[in-house]
Amino acid sequence: MTKSMFGEETPMIDLSTISSRSDLLDETLKGQLRQVLARMKQPVTLKAVVDMENQSSREMAAFLNVFSSLSDQLSLELYLPQEAGQVPELDVTYLPVTGLYQDGQYKRVAFHGIPGGKEINSFVAAVGNLAGAGKGVGFLLKKKIDKIRHKANLKICVSLSCHHCPGVVAACQQIALLNPNVEAEMIDARLYEDLVSRYQIERVPFIIVNDHDTYMGNKTAEDIADLLIY
């Protein structure tokens, strides 16, 4: 762990050592993303724990490095597993993990794995919503989300080719951004065989609430909020 001149802890991974090219982000897509991210009104920091011995983590580190270069409102901090103590709010059971932060606060939205395929959309939506670039939610839904009074950790297991999944991930993360009792973590289940076998996941989207209750299939933000109000 290192300290900056202001005494703050700084990330150990020097971003200049991370590839500035990602096979997942070609020039066309980067151009499209730049346009979307230009709507960001507030800065967002991406903090990720990556195990550089692992292919997926290396792939994610490069993806994040390129992605965060697409807007001045984005910044990136990468940590090795042994430095994860600097981001204790992130669940490092499933690496790589990336959390969304604003003003130094973890915003209870995280991604385990790589948001490739269809899941790029939930990733961009989460960043955009946190940055004030989203269309927000309606009054009635906001009222419902406010009624969630119990702590809820939502793990949304997805496959990157699932067309129902990004909507469910985005809905859960929208709720998490609006209610401090809720945390929403996308999990690309393909990378975590133990999780798949523990919950016998055969179909996605598959939502695990507080590591206990499970729900399958497409759901709206209203449906998900209803599950969490009791």
């Binding site: 490739g116 395929g117 939506a125 129902h164 393909r190 065989e193 989207p205």
Partner: protein
């Protein structure tokens, strides 16, 4: 016209089950999954094979909360006589409905009026009384209980989780999919 999602109509029939006679009504079949399993007539050759096959899987149907109701246009007394004389039928545990007036066969559209017999129709009805799966075979074309079990399980899955799910067939070492941007409705 399709019978899918049609609510079953009121009925009241007499049945035979494990040496006893009983009455079965629409109300009695609501609240759990049901299979109505029509066959042409008692004392025929294909029928005991099909019913025996169903009996071999009966425990599995029970485990998933599904009751089997076999139905023919015979009376419940004939069902008893058949059970008393056939080893295969004698071991059947599920209710065998007698439908001599054709009330059930007509509402499910399987009655062959000229013969007073039912086609080989199978109907899966959900706990709310709605037909969710059915197949109708001409006389003599047999059915498969294992396949029927799979269909009931599939119907139950959709009933519980909706039909908006994707199968997840992950292969270890699979490459990360290239992103495809489509933010409609998300941002």
């Amino acid at each position: 016209m399709s019978l899918i999602n049609k609510e079953i109509e009121d009925f009241r029939v007499q049945a035979y089950q494990k040496g006893e006679f009983l009455e079965v009504t629409k109300e009695a079949v609501l609240g759990h999954w049901s299979v109505f399993f029509f066959y042409p007539a008692d004392f025929t050759f294909v029928c005991p094979t099909e019913l025996g096959d169903l009996m071999d899987h009966y425990e599995e149907f029970q485990k998933i909360g599904c009751e089997i109701y076999s139905v023919s246009e015979d009376t419940h007394f004939v069902h008893k006589a058949w059970a008393d004389t056939s080893e295969t039928i004698g071991r059947i545990q599920f209710p065998m409905l007698g439908d001599p007036a054709g009330v059930l066969a007509r509402q499910f559209g399987v009655l062959v009026e000229a013969e007073g017999q039912a086609l080989r129709g199978t109907f899966v009805v959900n706990p709310q009384g709605l037909v969710k799966v059915y197949e109708i075979h001409d006389m003599g074309i047999g059915r498969n209980a294992q396949e029927l079990l799979r269909k009931v399980q599939a119907a139950q899955f959709v009933h519980e989780h909706g039909d908006q799910v994707c199968p997840a067939k992950w292969k270890p070492g699979e490459e990360t999919l290239t992103p495809s941007l489509d933010l409609v409705g998300l941002l």
